[in-house]
Amino acid sequence: MTFEHEVATKVAVPDGLPMAPRPFVIRRTRRETYDTFTLELESTIKTKPFSFAPGQFNMVYVFGVGEVPISISGDPDNMDKLLHTARAVGTVTKRMSALGKGDVLGIRGPFGAAWPLAEAKGKDVVIVAGGIGLPPLRPSIYSIMRNRGEYGRVCLLYGARTPSDILFPREMETWRKKHGIDVFITVDRSMKGWKGNVGVVTTLIPKATIDPLNTLAMIVGPEVMMRFSALELLKRGIDPATIYVSMERNMKCGIGLCGHCQFGPHFICKDGPVFPYNRIKELLMKREI
């Protein structure tokens, strides 16, 4: 079996310095939740439009502060703007969240392997997202919506910590109403006024409106969540060869030179972050790999 996006296109290296970021200016910012924000970026240097494949990430640099891997959360067919959605958790992402319109960030990328959207054609698609795992999947959803007729039933299962952690609620409503995507949401902890599901995202898997024998699954979330989601999908009879996950490790370079992102024999930055479940399932079951 060939993994279609394995051959990630090599990115042009400005000035022969693969570790030097290109400046991008922030055109808009959007507060998604109390701790999560989206930045809309545009290159300050007039070059080719920024093209990427769903699932790829950039190394995002805050001047003098640091650089972190962040998935691209925008529409792959709209190359004018580059979108990143991040949760402010530490040094770099907190500084990033404080930036506003007109401020400049550094970008290196796009890097990594993408979601197998071509392989998914003609199949039902189940997308399982936990927390900040939803933004890395949004480009796939955009792509599917644009070519909606080529996919079967499409089902998004999304778990957030609390109702106020839910990302893109209005957009999800549109996906449901206008694009025929079944959206199921659950929260770990309920709050006053919440009438929806409570429980971990794996509890939604039995509800997924898909034909297990002809389904492709994409999962992003914390490692335990991905492990249990995959097991739950297997229980529903989904072929393990059609399950994909996006892995996360510390990354200092994004280009296979720093060694930090190793996961067994894989460099997550260049062999992943998207992996066929079959390729990494043994490693996923081991601790501290």
């Binding site: 693969p18 400046p23 003098g64 401020d103 400049v104 510390n250 280009i255 060694g259 930090h260 260049k270």
Partner: protein, 382 residues
């Protein structure tokens, strides 16, 4: 692979010609780097002339033990390896990746400031052991052959002149025979030396491995070696091989380690290991590194610095929400499995050349060959 059609000519040079060799390299504008004695160990540094070589010295190495010792002859290469490896010149422990300054458009990467470490002179590595030549070729695969290449490494590497030396006196910690990397020189060198020394004679055999090497050789006194001299050289390597006691059985090593990720030995070795990272620092192939971003006080100039890092530190595997490899056991397993197994999947070669440095410089004497043996002997007992 192709075979070299004709065996390169073997020449004899006298010991005094070693000085000429260094001089010729200097004349050709090389900065000559090689083994020299400093603070009780043999390290790699600038060689001004042949007297900087550790003449008449050898060393004793055991797990967790290294002492230099006088020899009773005047051998120039009568030792093996110290704590340094050539990686410190090709992949410096600290280097600046770029600097950038703020401007109206945000910031601007300053091209001229990518610092060429070790000056701009091309480097001549004088006295590269067989295992180290392999280690350099392994790091070439990491830094110079993927989709993304390290520009600093490549700039320096492209100009390196290599004078290799066949091994005559393996240390107790050496196991290059097992790894197929020694004790005879193989690979891309410019010149290769073999030191012949006994009560009656002291001279060198020399072979050119490249046009650059031939050109240097032309400039020093040499003449074709006689048949018995050539066979003396072969004896040196053969004796070295038969004197090598330490072994590592590499049969099916990748599968062995992959299948034994839960072997109880990891727990045991993890309890001994101090997580000090010495092994990764002395290893000639370990390449992991980290970057640090900083600004000047005014916040207008930013710099990114790259530093050697080690999979033995807790921070190495940090991601928000916790470190992945919290236990020393997991870190040792990561290191050894990477060296001997996953490296093969990643780069098509072992990540270990059998130099033994990690054994010698481990403060508690952990031995990668012993660890492999224990796992092999109780294969699958987890």
């Amino acid at each position: 692979m192709f075979q070299v059609a004709v065996t390169a000519m073997v020449y004899r040079i006298e010991t005094a010609a070693v000085q000429s060799l260094i001089e010729v390299l200097h004349q050709q504008n090389y900065s000559v780097l090689g083994p020299t004695l400093r603070d009780g160990s043999i390290v790699y540094d600038e060689l001004h002339d042949a007297s900087d070589l550790p003449m008449g010295w050898t060393e004793e190495q055991r797990p967790g033990y290294y002492r230099i010792r006088k020899r009773n002859d005047e051998a120039l290469f009568g030792f093996t390896l110290g704590p340094h490896s050539w990686k410190k010149f090709l992949f410096p422990s600290i280097s600046k990746l770029f600097s950038a300054s703020r401007n109206a458009k945000g910031f601007n990467v300053l091209k001229d400031k990518a610092e060429p470490k070790g000056g701009t002179k091309p480097l001549a590595f004088f006295g590269v052991r067989p295992c180290e030549l392999h280690a350099i070729e392994i790091q070439d695969k990491v830094f110079a052959s993927g989709d993304y290449k390290d520009p600093q490494y490549n700039n320096v590497r492209a100009q390196v002149f290599i004078v290799a030396v066949n091994c005559s006196h393996p240390a107790e910690t050496c196991f290059c025979s097992s790894m197929g990397t020694g004790p005879g020189v193989e690979g891309q060198y410019d010149l290769a030396l073999t030191e012949i020394i006994d009560e009656k004679q002291h001279f060198f055999l020399i072979e050119a491995g490249s046009p650059k090497g031939e050109q240097v050789l032309e400039n020093i006194q040499h003449h074709p070696a006689e048949g018995n001299e050539v066979s003396k050289g072969e004896d040196v390597v053969r004796t070295a091989a038969s004197n090598m006691k330490r072994t590592l059985d590499t049969r099916g090593i990748k599968e062995l380690l992959y299948e034994n990720a839960e072997h109880p030995e990891w727990e045991k070795v993890g309890a001994r290991c101090l997580s000090c990272a010495n092994c990764t620092l002395v290893c000639p192939t370990c390449f992991c590194n980290t970057v640090e971003d900083s600004t000047d006080l005014g916040g207008t100039e930013a710099t990114r610095t790259r530093k050697w890092d080690s999979c033995f530190t807790l921070d190495f595997s940090y991601i928000h929400g916790g470190n992945i490899r919290t236990s020393t056991k997991a870190r040792y397993r990561q290191w050894m499995t990477h060296k001997l197994a996953s490296w093969i999947d990643q780069f098509g070669t072992s990540g270990c050349v059998g130099c033994g440095r990690c054994i010698t410089w481990c403060p508690v004497g952990i031995d990668i060959t012993d660890e492999t043996r224990v796992i092999r002997d109780n294969n699958g007992s987890a």
